[in-house]
Amino acid sequence: MVMTDPIRILIVDDEPANIQILHAAVSILGPVQFARSGEQALKLATANPPDVVLLDVVMPDLDGFAVTRALRADPATAGMMVVLVSGSAADADVERGLECGADDFIAKPVAPALIRQRVRLLAELARRRR
């Protein structure tokens, strides 16, 4: 599949190193925004909606599960593709993430080619739905 349209991506992680690693992996796909907290992520997602959100699970205050639920509850952000990115890929975590409304779940450490492919596929899926 070849997609030429830029994909707008929002990376959410409280650890700057993880943001930069993800940025290096996906920045060739399109414009990338960053947030270092769940609260900041929700503001950015509303103000400048991305196609795909790459969302860390464990963060202080609002975690990835809570952010996913909040995105799904707001009609303005409900259609965004949400990928949870976590250091723990235990079945229970993946199940909880999908129950919260996430579209995909990726374990750290991230494999750049894999995450690019997932983002491309999800963005294409989102565009077909519209």
């Binding site: 190193a17 993880n18 750290k108």
Partner: protein, 183 residues
């Protein structure tokens, strides 16, 4: 290559950008050397962050030790203070060992010129081509930095022609797959 640090894996994650890899590693060690000062909830968050970052930075043994610490948090019955001390000491020790290995790896990197030096377009194009011919991730990273730094004007046609169509990210991944001569 020791199991403590997988340099080629990190390079492939940052598209061969040696400067970025170096910055991330230095930032990690600067931030996470004070493990003993954290406690309670702070410590749990810190251990989780260390595990996630260490995994992404290919600090394999640090990531494993952090995961072991995290596993203690959900274990029943709860870990004793003694077990915690042992786990944290192991994590601290592995951070120290990884830091030493990272220093060795970074010190062994080939020296590559990182400035364009104000050369003309033709000269720069030749130097860029020579860098790319080295099939080395460090050289590729410098070539990419030059490419991004060079203003796009009429005087740089030769440079633009030299690197037009080159997918630096893809090239970096290919090189990482072949090995880069540093390990």
């Amino acid at each position: 290559m020791s199991d403590a640090f997988d340099w080629p894996a990190l390079l492939s994650r940052v598209n061969g950008n040696v400067a970025l890899a170096r910055r991330l590693l230095e930032g990690f060690f600067a931030e996470h050397c004070a493990l003993a000062e954290a406690e309670g909830t702070d410590l749990r968050n810190l251990v989780h962050r260390i595990g996630g970052s260490a995994g992404n930075l290919a600090l394999i043994q640090v990531a494993e030790a952090a995961r072991d610490c995290e596993a203690m948090l959900v274990r029943e019955p709860p870990a004793t203070a003694k077990h915690w001390r042992v786990a944290l000491a192991t994590l601290q020790e592995r951070i120290g060992a990884a830091q030493a290995q990272v220093r060795t790896v970074l010190a062994a990197l080939p020296t590559v010129e990182t400035t364009t030096g104000g050369d003309s377009g033709d000269v720069l194009a030749t130097r860029l081509a020579a860098l790319l011919d080295q099939s080395d991730l460090a050289a590729l990273s410098v070539a990419e930095q030059w490419w991004l730094a060079v203003p796009r004007d009429a005087h740089n046609d030769a440079i633009i022609t030299a690197v037009r169509g080159l997918d630096f990210s893809g090239a970096a991944l290919l090189l990482a797959g072949k090995g880069n001569g540093h390990d």
